[in-house]
Each structure stands twice: as structure tokens, then as C-alpha cells.
């Protein structure tokens, strides 16, 4: 099986690679269109800022490649946000795989960013198979995807929001599977088993 981790200016993805090593999965870290198209699984990680990431993806043409993929794709954190329609973070037009908007948390009564372990619930995707409701995942983010028909796991901070999304072959998680303990690892394993 060939798994590709998409290479772009998305900050540090070393943790994702080590998580893959821990579960004994091999991967290729690349931004090459052919390599991405011929992969069995594609992981689209992300740490960083939406507009900078999107301009890089556009420059490489990846903003067109990613939405056209037909194999299972997993976006995490900013990767998930870039798969949505639009992000309030520097008013960024994103890839629009999920037809919904990414907004900033209201910081009137809450600390923003949302940092730490929070429970996810209403789990309804193959990726959470074997996880109990209210499993804890590690989140670090100031922007969130609203609840939508694509929501397959929810979380609550300031308000309920999408912890995971799915549409056809596209899967996404707002939290960091790679540093969310055994539970996060299970999600990665489930994805690789699809």
C-alpha cells in the first residue's frame, strides 16, 4: 500500500511521520502530483495559517489536485479547514470539498485558542470504529468548522463544532490524531485500513 503525506508549507509535520512509524506504516512525503494521484491513501496534515497555506497549494496546483482525488484522503487540523469552502482566517477562499465555512471562536467568555484535550461525541464514521463516545483528543486551534451534514464527530468549546467531517472519500479531523494518544492512533490505523 502506498500512503502519501502531502508536502506543503504547513509547519511541522514530523509528528505525523513519527505517528506513522509507530504504527509501522510506510509513507512518502511529497508534493508531486503523480505520486499523490497514484497513492492508495493520502494524508493532508497542517499546522499553521490558512491563507499562506492556500497560496502555496495554488502555486503548486495542489488546490485542484486534492479535490479531484478519488482514494481516501485524511485532512487534519488546518488541513481540514483548507478542505472547507472559506476560512475567516485572513478571509481565505479554501478548496470547498466540504461546503461549509470556518469561523473564529468567540473569545468574549473563552480563551482562544482552544488548547488541550476535549471529548468528541456523536461518532459516526469508520474512522472512529472501536473508539468509545467521549474519547479525548488533543486540539490546538482558533478557528472551527460549523456543524453540518458532513459532521461525523462533534466537539464542544464555546459552541458545538465539527471535530470530524466526511464526504465520500474525504475525511477530516480538527484535532491532532498524531499526538492524541492511543485513541488518535486508532483513527490513523482505521484510515489506513479503509
Amino acid at each position: 500500500m502506498k500512503t502519501v503525506i502531502i508536502k506543503y508549507n504547513a509547519g511541522n509535520v514530523q509528528s505525523v511521520m513519527y505517528a506513522m512509524d509507530r504504527i509501522g506504516a510506510s509513507y512518502l512525503w511529497t508534493d508531486d502530483e503523480q505520486e499523490i494521484r497514484t497513492a492508495d491513501k493520502v494524508i493532508f496534515p497542517g499546522v499553521g495559517e490558512a491563507s499562506t497555506a492556500m497560496s502555496y497549494l495554488r502555486e503548486k496546483g495542489l488546490d485542484k489536485v486534492i479535490p479531484s482525488l478519488t482514494q481516501p484522503v485524511l485532512g487534519t487540523c488546518v488541513g481540514m479547514q483548507l478542505m472547507c469552502r472559506h476560512s475567516e482566517e485572513n478571509h481565505t477562499t479554501c478548496m470547498g470539498i466540504f461546503d461549509l465555512d470556518v469561523k473564529r471562536f468567540d473569545s468574549t467568555n473563552f480563551k482562544v485558542p482552544h488548547v488541550g484535550w476535549n471529548n468528541i461525541y456523536n461518532l459516526k464514521t469508520e474512522l472512529t470504529q472501536g473508539l468509545r463516545e467521549d474519547s479525548y483528543m488533543y486540539f490546538v486551534h482558533s478557528y472551527f468548522a460549523e456543524l453540518s451534514p458532513y459532521t461525523v464527530a462533534e466537539c464542544n468549546y464555546v459552541q458545538p463544532f465539527s471535530a470530524m467531517l466526511q464526504k465520500d472519500n474525504f475525511y477530516a479531523a480538527q484535532f491532532h490524531t498524531e499526538i492524541s494518544g492511543k485513541e488518535g492512533q486508532l483513527i490513523l490505523e482505521n484510515f489506513l485500513k479503509l
Partner: protein, 251 residues
């Protein structure tokens, strides 16, 4: 619900943990990787590795260590000690650290916080503040709390946030090592004045102290070293206790 975090801190010298550890079944009590993995297994929410050597020669040792920790530990971890440039941070993050903690270098040149936040994102930049109560005021100290600065703690905390820090690690040198409880009043003031998470450190001696720092002290996370190393407090028991006290924790 977002949980309160329990964070063990490991002091590192020449790639090894210092201060004794009292774990049974450890093949090597000085191995930070093994110790970190055990803490993760026991329910620690994050780990902090503080390099107290921080000489040029030892940076490579530290980078190797960070790489090893990242390979074996599946929870977030922070590395601090002797970080003073974008290059330092870049090397640590590339080796697999999730966050870095800066202290003296931020006091020396506060713009560093802006530069790091811009380059790497606020989410991975923790500013550590060592504070001591002197002549009726909370004053920022450097050099492990020995050297006073001109900075007032509460104002400095606000400034580091404005400059782009993602979290504040607040250590009270007055309570550190006393095991008499965290500096709850100061922690609460800093926490109320900031919109970023506060990690409280210094003074943990009992499980009640953690309840207090999360309620009275309004901290988002509690950090401690020796009580965990010497197994005076077991992390799982601590979290069960906190849950009984109505504090939200990850169990």
C-alpha cells in the same frame, strides 16, 4: 468539555534526566524517553523537557533526544532551555517537538516572541515566566529565578500574549520547591487578564494543591516535577481525585 491538563516536567542535562526518579521497573531511571513514555501511559496530558545544560555542544544531544521522544511518545511535548533564535526553534520542531518554551531570551529581546509566532504559529510558542514577590510586587526573574528584571509579572504576561505567545508557563519562585501549594492568587490574576492558557508551576505537594490551582488559581494546566518523579503523587490517582472534586480531566 475541555479538560484541565496535568504536565510532568523533566529536567534534562546532557541528554539525561536529572533529579532522581523513584519508578520501579525502569530499566534506566535517567532515560528521558523511557520516563516520558511511562508518564504518557499513566495519563499525563503533555510533557515538558527542560534542558538545563543548554551549551552549544549539547544542542545536538538535545536534538537527538527530542527526535527519540517524538518517536516514542504519542502525546504533545514541549522543549525549553537555552532557546534564543528562529534557528533553535526550527531545529527542535523539525526534530518532532510540538511546542517550545522560551524564557530569558524573550526578556532580553521581546520581539523574538513576535518573530517566532509569525514564523511557526502561536500554537507552538510558550513563554515561561519566572516570578518572585519582591517589595510588594511580582517581578519577573531570569536565570532560574536568581536575577530580577525590570519587568512586572502581570504586565509582562499581557505583553507576551499581545506579542503572540500561545501559552504562558508561570512559575512562582516563591512557592517552587516548597510543596506548600501553587501561587494561586497570582495565577488567578494572570489568568483573568489573559485570553491564552496559563500553565501553573511551582509548589505542588499534594493532590489538593491541584484542585486549588484549577479552582482558586483559574489555571488551565498544572505542572510539577519531583512529586511525580518520586511517585509521591500518581498521575492516575491525581486525575481520579480531581474528577471527584468536579474538575474535568481526561481519564
Amino acid at each position: 468539555m475541555l479538560t484541565k491538563r496535568i504536565i510532568p516536567c523533566l529536567d534534562i542535562k546532557d541528554g539525561r534526566t536529572v533529579k532522581g526518579t523513584n519508578f520501579v521497573n525502569l530499566r534506566d531511571a535517567g532515560d528521558p524517553v523511557e520516563l516520558g513514555a511511562i508518564y504518557a501511559e499513566q495519563g499525563a496530558d503533555e510533557l515538558v523537557f527542560l534542558d538545563i545544560t543548554a551549551t552549544v555542544d549539547n544542542r545536538k544531544t538535545l536534538i537527538d533526544l527530542v527526535r527519540n521522544v517524538a518517536r516514542h511518545v504519542n502525546i504533545p511535548f514541549t522543549v525549553g532551555g537555552g532557546i534564543s533564535s528562529i534557528d533553535d526553534v526550527s531545529a527542535l520542531l523539525n526534530a518532532g517537538a510540538d511546542k517550545v518554551s522560551i524564557n530569558s531570551s524573550a526578556v532580553r529581546r521581546p520581539e523574538l516572541i513576535n518573530e517566532l509566532a509569525l514564523q511557526f504559529g502561536s500554537q507552538c510558542i510558550i513563554v515561561a515566566i519566572d516570578t518572585r514577590f519582591v517589595d510588594g510586587e511580582h517581578i519577573v526573574h531570569t536565570h532560574g529565578g536568581r536575577k530580577p528584571t525590570e519587568l512586572r509579572t502581570i504586565a509582562w504576561a499581557k505583553e507576551v500574549e499581545d506579542r503572540g505567545a500561545g501559552e504562558i508557563l508561570l512559575t512562582s519562585m516563591d512557592t517552587d520547591g516548597t510543596k506548600a501549594g501553587f501561587a494561586n492568587e497570582l495565577t488567578a490574576t494572570v489568568s483573568a487578564n489573559s485570553s491564552i492558557p496559563i500553565i501553573a508551576s511551582g509548589g505542588a505537594g499534594t493532590m489538593e494543591h491541584f484542585t486549588e490551582v484549577f479552582t482558586t488559581g483559574k489555571a488551565d494546566a498544572g505542572l510539577a516535577a519531583s512529586i511525580f518523579h518520586f511517585k509521591e503523587i500518581d498521575i492516575i490517582e491525581l486525575k481520579q481525585y480531581l474528577q471527584q472534586q468536579g474538575i474535568s480531566v481526561r481519564l
